[in-house]
Symmetry: C2
Subunit: 192 residues, 2 copies
């Protein structure tokens, strides 16, 4: 069991309606040592790949991406949410549908920070329906860059993002996969 799985079982809360609260260590309050351990775990899985850049989406993905990029000694680029001030020839943009909020938002990356030479590891805090990942894959395609892997902190194994991405042949590695959750009980998938 890795550090994140231990923390989820120890501190994670499941609210009525199937909402998982991990804001005491992952996405509002952050435990830096845990995040650094997650970066090392992602590096251990993806270390044989010639990653040149770690991509994420603001805001909760940023600390995880930084911890991971530090291990690979490459830069992080974080996609910004919302309409870019000067959308035009200088940014790649994609629409992401948020099931939680029931609306779409735009993600943007300046073209100069993602080129056809880049071999990308995308890192994010959550994977549910895979909407953010699809937006990032769209942008990677626009740049002509290569996606070498996706590292997810917490995958909701009962939603379809994981199956979708693995079905596309993506090397998807999730530190914790939740198979079932109800108030008071979180069931994590066993590792292979």
């Amino acid at each position: 069991m890795n550090a994140l799985e231990t923390m989820i079982l120890d501190k994670g809360l499941v609210l009525e309606g199937g909402i998982l609260k991990v804001d005491m260590f992952l996405n509002h309050q952050i435990e830096p040592k845990l995040i650094m351990a997650m970066g090392r775990d992602f590096h251990e899985h993806f270390k044989d790949k010639p990653i040149t850049k770690v991509l994420t989406v603001e805001a909760s993905g940023i600390p995880i991406a930084m911890a991971t990029a530090l291990e690979f000694d490459v830069p992080v680029v974080f996609a910004k949410k919302g309409r870019h001030k000067n959308v035009g020839n200088d940014v790649y943009t994609s629409q992401v549908y948020s099931y939680t909020k029931g609306e779409s938002y735009e993600i943007n990356i300046l073209k100069k920070y993602l080129t056809a030479d880049d071999r990308v590891l995308f890192v994010d805090d959550f994977l549910a329906n895979g909407a953010a990942a699809k937006g990032i894959i769209d942008i990677i395609g626009q740049a002509g860059a290569s996606l070498l892997g996706i590292g997810i902190a917490i995958e909701k194994g009962f939603q379809d993002g994981g199956a979708l991405l693995r079905g596309m042949g993506v090397d998807l590695y999730s530190l914790a996969i939740i198979d079932r959750m109800e108030p008071g009980k979180i069931t994590l998938r066993e590792h292979d």
Copy 2:
């Protein structure tokens, strides 16, 4: 000269209209080793203070806050921007006026992550007019917590946020203070 100052002089760009672009290493693309060095520099300055929590505001402040909190071995809490889903008894909130955008936005911190026992170091990427810092100071006051210091990556020394905060008696430490800038030339303030 610290790592950030060297990077600003090496890579920073000043556009017409007095806009400083550091998005190649600080706030869109991020250089993890630089950020970690900044965390060590903040720790060196504030290490004698009994910090219990590092606060910042999403999104660009997050990596710097994490690097700093790692040195102190304390959690980060990042204020979220925008209207909280359930503003009520569970969040502290404050209004921040953005001079760049000409409008106000709201910052929120869940009450359970900032208590009267907390001794706070606030860390952010930029200080210009001090609007974000004033919002955080407001929230720290609401919580009855103590502000022990403010660590800023880049202070625009020709704007009034620095003087305002130092005048309030805040221990404000900026890694780089820009006294003047024009296209092609950035003048940093000498350290004492």
